[in-house]
């Protein structure tokens, strides 16, 4: 009997929630109406609860959009193996050594942030940097690594993963900074070769990144697009720094503080002169 009352009460609650009247619900169970009615009257105020304000609804939606993207599920990700990450890296390195490094290094070379073998790739790049002794070799390596970072950014954009783009952008800029400040700039021939390499890397990977962007839905293009533009500007800036400056225009020489910067930007003020005492 009690069981039946619970079932009938539940049925009536669902009818009330669906917008039926109390009388309709009671009419469905006339033999239990006396017991059901006081219980259903208690339920009525609860069925009409407070609603979120439109302002709150909109602002929370905005916060969620800003917090997007959600961490994606990946079958093979570093995150999934986080407790074992060091072991995985150590094991991968040992395997690389044992197997002559060829297989693992090859597999790691195409990895991107978030992949299990990416730390192996990073370690391998550091080792290459340490083993490169000449300035020319170091500068060439930085150019190649800059291209590699753009390739990784393109790969992440193709996968629709924007969360590691900022990190890659920073690494790209660090590589380009090293190229820009390279002492090879003093050697005209070496500088020209470096510029050609840089142009080749940019021509190889920036269009690929752009194509990946074009394939993304419009709503998800903004962040990768901004990174693509930043990368392109940085490549252009370094390329200009490796190019001969145009000859100075004829005419009277301006005092140093009014000379324009070689990149055509605003004049950079000369340091404040220290007074002679």
């Amino acid at each position: 009997m009690k069981k039946k009352l619970e079932d009938c009460l539940n049925d009536c609650l669902e009818r009330l929630a669906a917008g039926r009247s109390l009388e309709e619900c009671l009419a469905a169970y006339p033999e239990l109406a006396g017991e059901l009615e006081p219980l259903l009257r208690q339920a009525l105020p609860w069925l009409r609860g407070p609603s979120p304000s439109p302002q709150f609804r909109a602002s929370l939606r905005q916060r969620l959009l800003e917090a997007w993207p959600a961490p994606r599920r990946r079958a093979w990700s570093v995150r999934a193996f986080l407790p074992f990450r060091r072991w995985a890296v150590a094991l991968s390195l040992m395997l690389a050594l044992l197997l002559g490094g060829v297989g693992t290094a090859w597999a790691a070379s195409s990895s991107v942030p978030g992949d299990l073998l990416y730390p192996v790739k990073m370690a391998s790049e550091k080792a290459k940097g340490a083993m490169t002794l000449t300035q020319r070799g170091k500068a060439n390596l930085q150019v190649r690594l800059a291209g590699e970072r753009v390739r990784e950014m393109a790969a992440l954009a193709e996968r629709g993963q924007a969360q590691n783009l900022e990190k890659l952008q920073n690494r790209l800029e660090a590589h380009l900074e090293k190229v820009e400040t390279s002492v090879l700039k003093e050697d005209v021939e070496a500088r020209d070769k470096l510029r050609h390499r840089l142009e080749a890397e940019a021509a190889r990977y920036l269009p690929r990144f752009q194509k990946a962007l074009e394939r993304l839905p419009a709503a998800r293009q903004a962040t990768p697009q901004a990174h693509w533009e930043r990368a392109q500007r940085r490549f252009q800036r370094v390329k200009e720094s490796l190019t001969d400056p145009p000859p100075p225009p004829p005419g009277p020489r301006l005092p140093p503080r009014w000379r324009t910067s070689p990149r055509g930007g605003f004049p950079s003020p000369s340091p404040t002169p220290t007074p002679d005492y």
Binding site: L9, N10, R41, Q42, L60, A67, R73, Q161
Partner: protein, 180 residues
Amino acid sequence: MSEDRELVARAQAGDRQAFAELYEKYLEPVYRYVARRVGSREEAEDVAGEVFLRALKSLGSYKWQGLPFASWLFRIAHNLVVDRQRQQGRHPVVPLEEASEREGLGVEEQVALQLRLAELKQALSRLTEAQRQAILLRLVAGLSVEEAARAMGKTPGAIKALQHSGLEALRRHAASWDKP
């Protein structure tokens, strides 16, 4: 249910629109559930916002196995409410200031509503935690018996029994309230 499953899978694969659909579907029930348990509209908005931000953060690790999305979401909401009440060292309450419930009412009706809400607040605090959960999930949040059962880790029969005993307790409390 299968619609939720598909939306969750799409959101996990990076589809922002799918998560937006889940948000639109569950914001109101989650908000109502939270609002009946915290002290003010501001707190309800804080907690409801935190529920969805946490859900977004943990979406990648969520697995459907045995726990539907709605139940998972209400578990987050429940845990956040309990944490907040523990921090503030107070018992569950029902908010009284609900502008949406007072719109279009005259002064007398507003006073009556305030009294009724005060009565509900007191009544809810008299229920056991399980009864309170069952009433909030079923009546306020609008979960089905099966969803509420999964969210609470009980059988559907137990949920029906809890909502019955909860409403019975509310009725007894109302009867004592009506006595001079």
